[in-house]
Amino acid sequence: MTWTIRIRILYQAFFLGLFVWFLARLSAGDERQFPYALFHHADPLSAGALPLGAGTLPGALLWGIALILVTLVLGRAFCGWICPLGTLQQLASWFLSPRTKRESLVANRWRPWFALKTYLLVALLVGAVFGGLQMGLLDPLSLLARGLSSGLWPLLPGGRAVPAGWLSAVLLLAIIIASRYLPRLFCRALCPLGAFLGLFARFSIFRIGRGENACSDCRLCSFACQGADEPLGSHRVAECHVCLNCLPRCPEGALSYSFLPALATPPTRPDLSRRALVGTALSAAVIAPVLRVSGGGRDAARPGLIRPPGALGEKEFLSRCVKCALCQQTCPTGALQPAIGEAGVEGFWTPVVVPRRGGCEFACTRCGEVCPTGAIEPLAAARKTGYDGRPPVRIGTGFIDRGRCLPWAMQIPCIVCEEVCPTDPKAIWFDEVEEPLRGAAGTAGTVRLKHPRIEPSRCVGCGLCENKCPVGEEAAVRVTSIGETRDPLNRMLLGT
């Protein structure tokens, strides 16, 4: 192992460790202001795709632009040196696979269907133009964060259940295990981020060069090639992860990674068919609007879709959310969950508040602080609570179900919802009544009861009442999104 490879492994270990450590700190509720969204800020695919639909490049995504510029100089070094999902796959292919040297040469050969990732990229970018940002489904940074956060974190001691998490976990595990059969299968064939960087790697100044006079065509360079880019002969620079595994393998010392080396002969077959590209773009242009009418948050009738405080209006929100799950990871109560059907097909895996799993803590603003793209705007606690003098940020309104409420329906005293209501004055108040009790024949005697009532203009929809309600599975007080600050059309009260 040469020093270049050792340094690369150190980089990979560092970034994988940092990625997991950030998630762990978020989950632990660390008070320190680490740049938790660093990886997602530096996501070149977010930087490239977000402006297409949102029309803006939110501040910190400039780091993603910086990574594109790095790619123009060094090639896809991000894939080989930084990407934690790439590292996990590389680990798996090294650790799990019983491949012989000969089998490795076959496994690391380029295959025409690796072009699939570029078609996926085109579909996702075209979809973003037509208003549906779906790249978060396959973006490796979102995919890994989501797989760890909502898929595997619940397994840890004290982990919280995440009903939609299993699919994230299965996707992540499938990607890792697939590397046992074909190294970095996801990177090579599916990763839209890799395909995106590949567009820029074509211009890279530093790249693998081959001294043709010295090369004896032994093909040993392909033995551990991560990108299946075939450094021998027609080197596919857009596929190369700059892992540099090929350099020490060459017995003749014919390979180098250097400034403007002589160009290899270009691949004989075109990687992409123009007809298929146009077809992909057209299909995406049709499918994106179809997803939009799938009955999600853009629909006036949207039961169960409560967005986190500070979330933008649904259209703006969907053009920015990259489904990275950081907000869910940092939510201290487990209120934020990945949506299954609440937000429609296009909103799959976007964050929703599920009060039965957790209430939205009154002065907590962590989800907005960590959101890498501004889909959830950062709020000051005084702004969220309304202590700055303006109306508080509402995410919905609570409704009492008198048929299930203990004092209302069963004459059993209970005050829990009022007790936990955090607003000032409380949105939940009591109407004290004296009611006849059941006797041996008809009624006998009376009981004094406190009937909880909700004053809707005070309610912020935090869901603490629903969360703490002692009426099990389906609470006797429930929150829906009506009255939410982010949508002026989703209101019920005059004057709001």
Partner: protein, 327 residues
């Protein structure tokens, strides 16, 4: 990359020309990425705030009559006489202008049931606007019942079309965001309010279960889309708010048939009284007051009228309404 200068196959190093070309192409790509980033960086792209509703009134001298009412069996003649007393349609609609006529076409009811504005009144207004030189006359309403049934069975579709108007309803109306100061931050209004220079409000006088009567100011409900169902929570204030927000060129009140109970939808012919009167005016509060007196109500007993007067939207003094008598 393929169209770069070809190089000597025995030469391991690229030529200086080739190196320069490659560096330039990398530089161009970097500049494109950087330029794109600069262009899009923190360029806010949130939806624009709701535009202000325009004022469609024409300036009038203080001596000009504020309203005129005509009686007679022919609704069209009543319209002609009332408008003529205000100086004729030419005083309000100039050559080449676009005019929106807003009747009440809210219900799937026949004209005899007096839930919608009389089609003869609307058709006559269309003709007057056309004669005054209007380029485009649109009759539009967002009905409560199915828009096709409401527009057709009210007789408004056929009457307005044959008089030369464009009739827009249901899906042919485009909605844009709007807000109503003090009452609602989130509403939708029809975009015709922004594309027409003149707007004529043509309500029918009806009983209303909540506000007791509905005339012109409440008729503005029909230019609102989503969000209008909230306004009933404080009806008098909200109706006055509508009157303050929408300031029409002219209000023409149809009291040909007046619905006295079970409004605003009605249905029973026994609730309908034949009054055979039409009033036109530039003072919406005066028109409102005249309208409710046709039902036998005292204007000062109605919260939305006193609220509107308090806001300075007009005067409820009925002596300001010129009575043109029966033709």
């Amino acid at each position: 990359m393929t169209d770069l200068p070809t190089r000597d196959p025995y030469e391991e190093k690229p030529t200086r020309r080739e190196m320069a070309a490659r560096l330039v192409s990398t530089g161009v790509a970097a500049a494109a990425v950087g330029g794109g980033a600069l262009f899009f960086h923190d360029r806010r792209h949130l939806e624009a705030a709701a535009p202000e509703i325009p004022d469609w009134r024409v300036p009038r001298s203080d001596a000009a009559p504020r309203g005129a009412a005509a009686r007679g069996a022919d609704p069209a003649a009543n319209v002609r006489r009332a408008v003529a007393a205000l100086g004729g349609m030419e005083a309000f609609v100039k050559k080449g202008e676009s005019v929106l006529i807003k009747p009440n076409a809210g219900w799937d009811r026949l004209p005899e049931q007096a839930a919608n504005t009389d089609p003869k009144v609307v058709a006559e207004l269309v003709r007057l606007c056309k004669r005054a030189g209007a380029k485009r006359v649109v009759v539009a309403d967002l009905s409560v019942n199915d828009p096709v049934r409401s527009m057709t069975r009210s007789g408004l579709l056929e009457a307005a079309r044959s008089a030369g108007a464009e009739v827009l309803y249901g899906k042919s109306l485009k909605l844009v965001p709007a807000s109503l100061a003090g009452s609602s931050a989130g509403l939708e209004v029809i975009d015709l309010l922004f594309s027409c220079q003149r707007v004529i409000n043509v309500p029918i006088v009806k009983h209303h279960g909540l506000s007791r009567a509905t005339v012109g100011m409440k008729n503005w409900m029909g230019v609102l889309g989503r969000g209008r169902n909230r306004l009933h929570q404080g009806i008098d204030r909200a109706v006055a708010e509508l009157g303050a927000t929408f300031r029409p060129t002219l209000t023409v009140v149809d009291a040909t048939r007046v619905l006295l109970s079970n409004g605003p939808q009605g249905g029973s012919l026994s609730d309908v009284k034949l009054v055979n009167a039409v009033a036109a005016g530039t003072d919406p509060v005066l028109c409102e007051a005249w309208g409710v007196t046709q039902m036998g109500l005292d204007p000062s007993s109605l919260g939305f009228i006193t609220e509107a007067e308090k806001r300075g939207l007009g005067r409820r003094d009925l002596s300001l309404m010129r009575d043109l008598g029966t033709a």
